[in-house]
């Protein structure tokens, strides 16, 4: 197996593995959205649920890490198939998108947890 095929196999496994984790996270997130909206959405209500909650902190960290793996691989597939992008530049963009989502997501979690 050459390097490109090996990378493709890894990306496929990471995409499916993260999808399985995200399926559970998204279900929890959708239920939370519905319950929070019904109760009346406010900064106070959001922060009273999340601030200092180790359980929600852990849940959102898992959610963000799975998302940061999943979304860039999906965007990479779209860029390759629809725009014809290939090679090292695409690899670099995928890695940058992962890091940017991780940084932004973890920052958001810290904002509502601390």
């Amino acid at each position: 197996m050459n390097a490109a095929a090996r990378l493709g196999a890894w990306l496929w496994a990471l995409q499916r593995g993260s999808a399985a984790v995200l399926a559970a996270c998204v279900l929890v997130h959708l239920v939370t959205i519905v319950l929070a909206t019904r109760a009346g959405l406010s900064a106070e209500a959001i922060l009273s649920r999340t601030q200092g909650s180790v359980g929600w902190f852990g849940f959102y960290v898992v959610f963000v890490v799975a998302l940061a793996v999943h979304a860039p691989i999906g965007l990479r597939a779209i860029a390759a198939e629809w725009l014809g992008w290939r090679g090292r530049a695409l690899d670099l963009l995928t890695a940058l998108a992962t890091l940017a989502l991780l940084a932004g997501g973890l920052r958001a979690i810290w904002g509502v947890f601390r």
Partner: protein, 109 residues
């Protein structure tokens, strides 16, 4: 032929909903990050989201999220479960419709 068309439509909807969600997520993270400057900053953002157009956008995002989830479960079922093709499509369709209808009702939009 008809089944192939449905499978192509499902794949395209899965891809487009994923693209839209991927474009939205950084904005979502930025909005939640407002809490870093204090609850008032987050509340100001939430006040802005009460605009009817923004609410319609939020509803669209929730529906896209439910749709992407349902179609993603369809992909996982196709690749990992020994289900018959038609059963898989029906199961995914049922999940999607149930989620979208349930959410639309629950959000009272």
């Amino acid at each position: 032929m008809k089944r192939l068309h449905a499978a192509s439509a499902a794949a395209l909807a899965h891809r487009l909903s994923g693209l839209a969600l991927a474009l939205f997520v950084p904005f979502h993270f930025w909005a939640l990050g407002q809490a870093l400057t204090g609850p008032q900053a987050l509340q100001s953002f939430l006040d802005w989201t009460r605009h009817p157009l923004v609410k319609a956008g939020e509803w669209g995002l929730v529906v896209l999220l439910a749709l992407h989830l349902a179609l993603g479960l369809r992909v996982l079922a196709l690749e990992f479960l020994p289900w018959h093709e038609r059963q898989k499509s029906m199961a995914a369709g049922a999940c999607g419709i149930a989620l979208v209808a349930g959410l639309a009702f629950a959000l009272q939009l």
